[in-house]
Homo-oligomer: 386 residues x 2
DNA sequence: GCACAGAGCACAAACGATTGTGCAAGCGGC
DNA sequence: GCCGCTTGCACAATCGTTTGTGCTCTGTGC
């Protein structure tokens, strides 16, 4: 009828992919193979037996498809199947290795099931986060993994209720009605605080992350636990900062130095804040650990290599990412070894994830999974000189 | 006819988004507003005037849409418009801040134009890279930014020829027929090499990245330039390694230490390799810079904070990312200030990008843009002791 | 009283896939 | 020779949009 195979057909030889413009469509394949579109579709989707397509025909279709370099349009497919194969991942800052690692694990983990990751960088701004959520929703993502920026999880809860599975990681909120994945911050905070306390520190300044976020609250809780156990308590005025950023750590440190000159140690709620703090301390000529001890939480994998040693509580970030991925997949009802998946990565199937083995609790709306942390002591702590 | 507004209609009050399942479609909106789908579509797309929809009707439609929380399905839209609004970004390792920064800039830069970024992590494997390319192609990405893994750009060139705009960054290839963005590696390499040479180093070991990649070749070239200028030349046997990875740096260092015990300095082609090298040196009890000097290229922003100081050539990564984004956008024919874009980020429009001001050269298939680098000297270099 | 213009909207055909169902052969049994 | 079963495939509806075209009014000029 139309001259469709003129262009695709007159390349030197029928082999190779489409040469230009001409998106190779199923219709083309079908025409060239001399069958109908439906037959072509079934032949290519392994539905040959089911719909009684002869092996001869099937092979013919496959050959033509291969020759033409046919790739089914996922958008048409999505429309029909109501499955976009897209998963949204929204993080506050992808250039932060912590979030990058999480994104990475999700990307690797879902790839085997034919999903792709749509990336969103909220720049630590709630407003942008919301815009991204809308943008990704419009793109029909099938699920969302969010490391929320701040303190407003409401729009996420609403989204989840409206049928789009949402999983939150790291920046988890208290009583949030969403499946969440985070580290065991309380235990970790206590452990890291005890390093200070055992050295005799009592005047401890805290560089806080977003105050209302669960990580911040829980880490504070762990510190309080440790203090209480050691028989003292922390004055609320020794808290400063309100963000998980380097800038916040810098500002908060200066603030604390002014407010509490007697301070002998700093408890940073994240590595970026610790780095900002170090900058501030360096500017004031305060040496670590001679004049000031410092401990922190590991938000990224380079802490190990930093010039000022830093005692940190190390999160198993890839594991956290894998756990989040597993939760996502469960919510998407893809049992590992379902689709074309089950290829190589057995680990992404949740085997190494204890909480997931109890697969029963995976039908939930609100559960909190925790990943254990380890303590890495480096010489950023000494006894106080005062 | 059908009872479509039964479900969407009986939520407590028409306000708020869809409560469950019911994807709010244009048809719903139209029905509720008492108009046809086409009218609804035009009303919502600002085509009211053009198609003589009365302002009354237009407002009514808008209101209903807002009430229902209507969001046009991008997949249906894509199908019709043949524009997916998707841009693929494929990098060897997203958890490497260098690539993460690039991905970030792309994500931020294209967001204003309604594009989203589909992320692919090739794990430094050509095979996976190719699989990802196919996967993203099927998802109908409108353009691809690739930081290729290795040495085979052919499939990318073919892709570009077949009509899918491809831009490559960083891991650029010699004579590759694709628009490329990279740093000015030759100059940078020369500068960093001269730091060694001026201290008297002549026995220099080189930790190479992928041998056939342009960054590796060009950086070697810069080193050779510097050597030649200083009146000596490098033995090919002083090269080791063949990947931009920490492992490669580690292995190559051990190899070189055995092969050339007289070596006094190391020239690492990337920071991960430098880090691997440091590990190897530490294991052998070799101190920096006392026993061995080392210089490197900045692949990530934390070099500044590392415990062993490292003299590096610093790439302006965000700028590289923005440049790549600008090239992408150009190839997509979105002039900044076209769409709903032109919001805030003036910088992403290419203003800060000198090579782009010459907008004429943007219609190309094969151009190489370079971003300047700076030199950051830190005490990882001392005079040789031998 | 009629033609005609413009306003205001509806119809229907795409886009590229999937899938339930229907239709035409071929073949064996009686 | 007819019925019925199997085989092998084609038809057509559908997913949710966009958009060219055509239809029906209302009002005006003459």
């Amino acid at each position: 009828m139309k001259p469709p195979n003129h262009r695709t057909g007159d390349t030197p030889l029928g082999s190779g992919a489409a040469t230009l413009g001409h998106p190779v469509t199923l219709k083309n394949v079908a025409a060239r193979a001399g069958v109908s579109v439906s037959t072509a579709s079934r032949a290519l989707n392994g539905q040959a037996r089911k719909y009684r397509i002869s092996p001869t025909t099937e092979k013919a279709v496959r050959k033509v498809a291969a020759d033409l370099g046919f790739q089914a349009s996922q958008v048409a497919r999505s429309l029909r199947l109501k499955r976009s194969g897209l998963i949204g991942v929204i993080v506050p800052d992808i250039s932060n290795p912590f979030f990058a690692s999480i994104a990475r694990e999700v990307s690797l983990g879902v790839e085997a099931y034919g999903f792709s990751v749509l990336l969103g960088d909220s720049r630590e701004e709630t407003q942008i986060e919301q815009r991204l959520v809308e943008q990704l929703r419009a793109k029909q993502v099938e699920a969302l993994l969010v490391c929320p920026v701040g303190v407003e999880p409401d729009h996420l809860v609403k989204l989840d209720r409206s049928g789009l599975p949402v999983v939150v990681a790291d920046r988890v909120f208290d009583g949030i009605e969403l499946p969440s994945v985070t580290s065991d911050n309380r235990t970790a905070a206590r452990a890291v605080a005890e390093v200070l306390i055992e050295q005799g520190h009592r005047k401890i300044g805290v560089l806080s992350g977003v105050r209302d976020s669960l990580p911040a609250k829980t880490r504070l809780q762990g510190l309080t636990d440790a203090a209480q156990h050691a028989g003292f308590h922390l004055d609320p005025s020794s808290l400063a900062g309100n963000a998980f950023t380097e800038q916040s750590g810098y500002d908060a440190t200066l603030e604390l130095l002014d407010r509490h000159p007697e301070m002998t140690a700093i408890f940073a709620m994240c590595t970026p804040a610790a780095i900002g703090s170090m900058r501030a301390l360096a500017e004031r000529g305060i040496a670590i650990p001679r004049d000031m001890s410092i401990v922190a939480f590991d938000d990224h994998p380079f802490a190990e290599l930093m010039k000022t040693p830093l005692t940190v509580s190390v999160q198993d970030i890839p594991r956290l990412g894998r756990l989040a991925t597993a939760v996502l997949l469960k919510r998407l009802n893809v049992n590992p070894s379902d689709d074309s998946g089950a290829e190589s990565n057995a680990e992404s199937s949740g085997q190494d994830l204890p909480p997931l083995s109890t697969a029963s609790e995976m039908q939930f709306t609100t559960s909190l999974w925790k990943v254990p942390t380890t303590l890495l002591q480096r010489s950023s702590v000494a006894a106080p000189r005062h």
